[in-house]
């Protein structure tokens, strides 16, 4: 298939490169892992099969071969030629047709998952694109016009549809290891005020703007330590940064909290300049919520294999 038009930041991703952090290699991988996995299992793939991530804009893909595919994640206005199609539907596109994702009506990142997955560079145990160092995925870079992406199309599957990940009013967080070192005002503000997702955000981190700065009781300097996506770190400007999939492997800014793994996908879907509210939970709740997400994916996998 060939990319005919693109205004989105599109790249090939999987669940990331987890085993090379000790060499400073960023994890990379899908921003909304739950939608990514949902899309993959819906089309009969293993959850960690390379798919195309589309962020922010549109894309037009000419298909020279038929494929069974779905769109998951952000709710896109999408078409096969002129015929509108919907998210979380397992569909077939025939050879000679064009798949068009025009714009996201809600959410930020969508996934095009194809039965059999896409061909991509497999580097350091992962297909995901490492934008920072420029390897993996499609030549270590974002897709552009004229690129030929090869779908390992397997056989036709019946058309089925499933529900996406349910929306929530608040994003759940757990306390970070420096929680106690922040002022009571900072903690209150984090849990009661709205934060605006800055347009300076990217796959490395989402920057949050707020009226009340989050301050520490006393300035501290931490020795660098391992971090991961979801960590909410606060530089001395007092405006938090949520680390995302392309984030650095180690950091030294104080961490007031962490977005729970179950909700990090939902958080990644917040559009620039939209408002986000947080809710504090404990680690047991976080683990339970993650288990429920995994169960949801497994249920879809089972349903998809039976139909």
């Amino acid at each position: 298939m060939r990319i005919n038009k693109i205004s989105a930041i599109a790249s090939i991703q999987d669940l990331g490169r987890k085993n090379y952090k000790q060499y400073g290699v960023n994890e990379s991988g899908a921003l909304d892992k739950w939608s990514f996995m949902l899309g993959n299992v819906l089309v009969g793939n293993e959850p960690n099969t390379p798919a195309i991530e589309i962020i922010l804009g549109g894309i037009e893909i000419y298909c020279d071969k038929p494929m069974t595919f779905c769109i998951s994640g952000a709710n896109y206005e999408a078409f096969i030629d002129e015929k509108p199609i919907h998210n979380n539907y397992r569909l077939r596109i025939e050879a000679g047709k064009t798949l068009r994702l025009v714009r996201a009506m809600s959410g930020m990142c969508a996934y095009i998952c194809c039965y059999g997955g896409f061909k991509a560079d497999f580097v350091l145990d992962s297909y995901s694109t490492n934008f920072v160092a420029g390897f993996g995925g499609y030549g270590g870079r974002a897709l552009k016009i004229g690129d030929e992406v090869i779908a390992n199309s397997k056989m036709n599957l019946s058309q089925i549809a499933v529900a996406g990940i349910k929306q929530q009013d608040k994003i759940r967080i757990i306390q970070g290891s420096e929680w106690d070192l922040f002022t009571d005002e900072a903690k209150y503000s984090l849990l009661n005020n709205e934060f605006i997702v800055s347009s300076k955000s990217n796959r490395m981190g989402y920057r949050l703007n707020c009226d009340k700065k989050l301050n520490l009781e006393n300035e501290i300097s931490l020795a660098s330590h391992g971090v991961k996506a979801g960590v909410i770190q606060v530089p001395s400007s007092g405006e938090p940064i949520v680390l995302m999939q392309d984030s650095q492997t180690t950091g030294g800014y104080p961490k007031i909290a962490s977005i729970i793994e179950a909700d990090l996908g939902l958080f990644s879907q917040y559009r620039f300049n939209s408002k986000v509210k947080f809710e504090l939970v404990d680690i047991q709740t976080a683990l339970q919520a993650k288990k429920e997400r995994i169960n949801h994916i497994n249920n879809i996998k089972e349903y998809a294999s039976e139909n």
Binding site: G24, V132, A133, I174, A223, H225, G226, P235, G252
Partner: protein, 219 residues
């Protein structure tokens, strides 16, 4: 701060050091990494600056707590190891357009540019760990005179090869990346190359010496 592992997320346990950064503590971290890697439910271990972060598989609360206790007792028994690293010289162009924070840093420290460079090039640094970015070496051995806080707002772009100071640490940016360190110079040495069998030029235990390639007194 602590001397035991803290549950820092659903899949991470972190040990922060309680005392001043030391090479002795780092040798314990290096040793611990080797021991902890093979434990059940451990996916990966990342050594930081006198800190350790253990990444786990998907575990439940009981397994997470059990692993914490296991790691705590293993850490208490861990003896330091010596790593025999190579000595690498890194030529640096100090100051100027690519060492944009040198002037300010010298002013802040009430030192001349030359004095800052002399202090920075004097020690033989030890690579404590690789982190932050592919191939980014954290170096121990910075003279405390040059200890400088990170920027309050990290820059969105730092050029590849930038030599910087962040708190008590100094290091080199292997790739263009955002960062909050004070940049005092630049090197043309390639620190990360995915086409090499060992993509990172430096590894934990290596020793490094900065040498002056040039010094610019102004921007």
């Amino acid at each position: 701060m602590f001397n035991e592992f803290v549950i820092t997320s659903e899949t991470t346990l972190t040990l922060y050091s309680s005392s001043k950064i030391s090479i002795e503590q780092q040798k314990i971290c290096w040793s611990f990494e080797r021991l902890a890697k093979s434990l059940d439910n451990v996916l990966n271990v990342v050594v930081g600056m006198n800190t350790i972060c253990v990444y786990t598989n998907d575990v439940n609360y009981k397994e997470l707590c059990k692993l914490k206790l296991h790691l705590d007792s293993l850490y208490k028994e861990t003896k330091p190891i010596e790593l025999d690293g190579k000595l690498i010289e890194i030529p640096v162009d100090y100051g100027g357009e690519l060492g944009f924070d040198l002037l300010n840093l010298a002013k802040l420290k009430k030192l001349s540019i030359k004095e800052v460079v002399d202090i920075h090039t004097k020690p033989i640094y030890t690579v404590y760990f690789i982190g932050f970015l592919p191939g980014f070496a954290y170096l121990g051995g910075l003279d405390n005179i040059l200890n400088t806080p990170r920027l309050s707002i990290p820059r969105t772009k730092i050029p590849a090869g930038s030599v910087g100071i962040g708190g008590a640490q100094t290091g080199i940016y292997p790739l263009e990346a955002p960062g909050g360190w004070n940049i005092i110079g630049n090197t043309s040495v390639k620190l990360f190359d995915i086409n090499k069998e060992q993509p990172s030029l430096l590894k934990a235990g290596d020793r490094l010496k900065f040498v002056v390639n040039s010094i610019k007194e102004s921007l």
